[in-house]
Amino acid sequence: MKKQYAFLVDSERCIGCFTCAMACRNYYHQEEGVVWRQVYPLSEEIYPHRERAFLSLACNHCEDPACLNVCPVNAYTKREEDGVVVHHQEKCIGCGNCIRSCPYGAPKYNPVEKRAEKCSFCHERLDAGLKPACVQSCPTKALQLVDLAEMQQTNQVQYPAGYPKMEKLNPSTRFILPKTPKMVRR
């Protein structure tokens, strides 16, 4: 398998503190209302202990990205060297097609630039040997950068409940599910 960078979201470790989402904002200073990384609480139907079950999501850097396929102006590229899906904002004409098409809601409309934008895995930081801002900031190491080609763990899943299952796109994000807390009786 070719190198494919991915986010590994360990929901057992995630405490829902939003530090990853804030780190992304601090780093890129997106316009008001434009969010590249979001922390979603899991509904109680999926996990009854809401206060501690979250999915931290940004772009999934899919193997066959819907955004890339539908963009009429080729504003998306998938990097050969690490599979990162980069949005080139200078090419974008703001048609919104990628926003409509990505099942994960990753591309967002920037009302000031009048163009789309999304997480590009901090690829400038990757190129400088650094971790993405969100990964760097996570206080519990719940968010990690992994290479799917080398990942050995066997306890991760690709499609946890609460996350759209889109096999054709083959999103790269992997998840470690939260454990059910033990009840301690007195």
Partner: protein, 263 residues
């Protein structure tokens, strides 16, 4: 609810009216009908298409870069839609400018073929995986129905006496198909996955949806009772299609709206 995407409503419905008119023109000229009014009809076709294309520009953050939208023909259905729409526009403009070719059935059939290309690519563009209720052939079916309905309606303005009944039959058939499609789709969605179910509920609770169905019902009643298409009816149907299309964009639920919930 998402945005009702007014520019896209204008573009899709007006271009479908133009394509439908071209199809009906081709059908009539092949059925041995009139050719005299050809240029006026092509003028309406070209006018509708120009209005739709201009409207669509308001949808872009950067309208001046619109020609760039042709650069990803390899996978982007939107690029293909723009290409087909441009070629269709070219045929319509040719028919208007060179008046002597306007009556040629070949031109109407060429326009129809390109127009069907527009409808198919628009159907694919608005059927992304992120909209499970529409990630299928429904958008193309909706668009084709609108084209035939509006084409037969406005086509009746141009049809010879002898061919009017044909237009009425096609119009009535398209209304029935439209009613069935729009009534059945949301009901089927109610038994689908979570986001599809949410879409079914949103459509059934939407004023756009019921106003559109109401117009279709009126069109059916009038065409059935009078065995004709009164001159005002296509205009009412056009308004109905615009309203219905606004609902198509506004009330269809995106998978991202349910992140963290059951799918």
């Amino acid at each position: 609810m998402q945005s009702m995407e007014f520019p896209l409503v204008l573009f899709t419905v007006l271009s479908q009216a133009a394509i439908g008119l071209t199809l009906m023109r081709a059908v009539r000229t092949t059925s041995g009908g009139e050719e005299a009014a050809g240029r006026t009809e092509w003028l309406l076709i070209a006018g509708l298409m120009v209005a739709g294309l201009l409207g669509s520009l308001f949808h872009l953050g950067h309208p001046l870069s619109a020609p760039m939208a042709l650069t990803h023909l390899g996978t982007a259905w939107l690029s293909r839609e723009v290409l087909f729409a441009g070629l269709f526009m070219g045929v319509a403009a040719l028919a208007v400018v060179a008046g002597n070719v306007a009556g040629k059935p070949a031109l109407a059939w060429l326009g129809t073929a390109l127009g069907l290309g527009v409808i198919l690519s628009a159907g694919m563009t608005y059927a992304p995986p992120a909209l499970p209720a529409l990630n299928n052939a429904l958008p193309a079916a909706f668009f084709l129905t609108s084209a035939v309905l509006l084409g037969a309606g406005f086509g009746s303005w141009f049809a010879d006496e002898g061919l009017r009944p044909l237009m009425v039959r096609i119009f009535t058939g398209a209304v029935v198909v439209g009613l069935v499609l729009y009534l059945v789709a949301p009901c089927v969605w109610l038994s689908g996955g979570e986001v599809m179910r949410m879409t079914g509920q949103a459509w059934l609770a939407s004023g756009f949806y019921w106003a559109h169905l109401g117009v279709l019902a009126v069109a059916l009643a009038v065409a059935w009772k009078t065995r004709d298409i009164p001159a005002w009816l296509p205009v009412l149907v056009l308004i109905g299609e615009l309203v219905g299309r606004a609902g198509f964009f506004a009330d269809t639920v995106h998978t991202a709206a349910n992140m963290g919930g059951l799918y």
